[in-house]
């Protein structure tokens, strides 16, 4: 065998080896099962947002305001630099896969509250090189350890919901009244909704839930007795970009009670 043939055979063998390994990974039955079995966390927390129960736009503004104040979120006008934990989107932006031409005007006009979905299989966690973003085993909250974030923004590219914001500027300059109970972030760090983990630890519900006047429900997704599961069993509810297989845990009741 001459040198040329030896190199050819070696290269082909290597290619075949790599290809079969990745094919096995893609078709691995465990992975497919895991993607439809729900959250690996024992007490996965989730949210149900009932758009019909928002009586006024003020309530929605109050919800956002409560979150902003609780977490020292900078208010930056420049849309390229803005930081958002919970905000509103139009239906076609929030649910691009299930929008249609003749959508009712009512739904078209509604501001849908969107936030981190604390996915069962979060893409952001998979790509984080420092494990600054991780999924809590106990309650499935996708949490960030800002001490570890190196600002690479892989998570922002991975998240299909745009739930993550990067601090392009020093956020302290854009916070009117700093809430001393919660840290701010610093320039060069990514941030997102944490399901108010600091409030849950004190036995409180998330700030947005408290401010929503009952339109946002919160609880354990794997507990059939929970408030969220009761609401989901009574109503037709959807999640955002379900087909991506991330397993979002924020559900939306769009049509109201009569759709049960």
């Amino acid at each position: 065998m001459d040198r040329r043939n030896f190199l050819k055979i070696t290269a082909l063998t290597a290619l075949f080896g790599l290809g079969s390994a990745s094919a096995y990974k893609l078709l691995s039955p465990d992975e497919i099962l895991a993607s439809i079995e729900g959250s690996p966390a024992c007490d996965q927390l989730g949210m149900v947002i009932d758009m019909d129960l928002f009586r006024s736009k003020e309530t929605i503004e109050n919800v956002i305001e409560a979150c902003n104040k609780a977490h020292n979120i900078p208010i930056i006008d420049n849309p390229k630099h803005e930081v958002k934990w919970i905000w509103t989107e139009k239906y076609e932006s929030a649910f691009p896969d299930s929008t249609s031409v003749h959508l009712s005007e009512d739904i078209k006009a509604k501001p849908f509250l969107v936030l981190c979905n604390h996915c069962d299989h979060p893409a952001c966690v998979r790509v984080c090189p420092t494990q600054a973003t991780f999924k809590r085993k106990s309650d499935g909250i996708v949490q960030m350890d800002y001490h570890r974030c190196i600002g690479c923004r892989f998570c922002m590219a991975a998240c299909p919901y745009g739930s993550r914001s990067f601090n392009w500027e020093n956020p302290r300059n854009y916070i009117k009244d700093v809430n001393p109970e919660y840290p701010t972030r610093t320039i060069g760090v990514v941030e997102k909704c944490n399901f108010c983990v600091e409030r849950l630890e004190r036995g409180l519900k998330p700030a947005c839930v408290d401010a929503s006047e009952g339109a946002v429900l919160f609880g354990k997704m794997n507990d059939p007795e929970s408030e969220v599961r009761a609401a989901l069993s009574m109503n037709y509810a959807v999640t955002r970009k379900t087909e991506l297989g991330t397993g979002p845990n924020v559900y939306y009741i769009i049509g109201g009670q009569e759709h049960a």
């Binding site: 024992c42 007490d43 409560a66 104040k69 609780a70 020292n72 991780f134 809590r136 106990s138 309650d139 909250i141 949490q143 350890d145 800002y146 001490h147 009244d177 700093v178 809430n179 001393p180 109970e181 919660y182 840290p183 701010t184 972030r185 610093t186 983990v197 600091e198 409030r199 849950l200 630890e201 004190r202 036995g203 409180l204 700030a207 408290d210 401010a211």
Partner: protein, 196 residues
Amino acid sequence: MMIFGKKLNLGVSLRNLGVSLRLIVGVVLMLAALSLSCSKESALGPKPSLDTPAINAMTNKQCVKPAAYMRSNHMTMLNDWRDTVVRGGDRNLGEIDGVIYEKSLQHTCLKCHSNPTEFCDKCHSYASVKVYCWDCHVKPKSEDVNSPKSEDVQSPKSEDVQSPKSEDVKSSNESSDFKSIKQDGQKVEDTKGGEK
């Protein structure tokens, strides 16, 4: 008189003796002053202030660990707290002298050491070690710490989250409104009870 093979004329030396003596006395005095100031600095170092309302009110002035341990290990302890709280969800530091403490820079350390400028910065400036805690964590202004946090910083129902007033920190059993926390982040019991 022979010194180092040189013959010195005592008569001449005596003439300069007054000058030499004054010189020697001056040098000795200067050295004494210098060594005194050095020993003073090394023995005492910078003096971080413990004069805060919360600490003054304590009968047993005791930190969560002995002062010597804190002096040499507070940085590793804080790193350990950071990891166990953020990544493990475990805030419970346990009970010390009948007081339940929480692993928290904001809610535990700063409740007593409400004067970080007079406390942390004293040694850190002296040792030229930059404290980057305050890049994110909110450094309390000494005067703000004594007053309860204003209601408007939290959502309507969130008064419960607010820090205890400094009076609460003082007395042992009702020292904090911190509730015991289980690993899974759910509330287990309310140590103060009836507060919500």
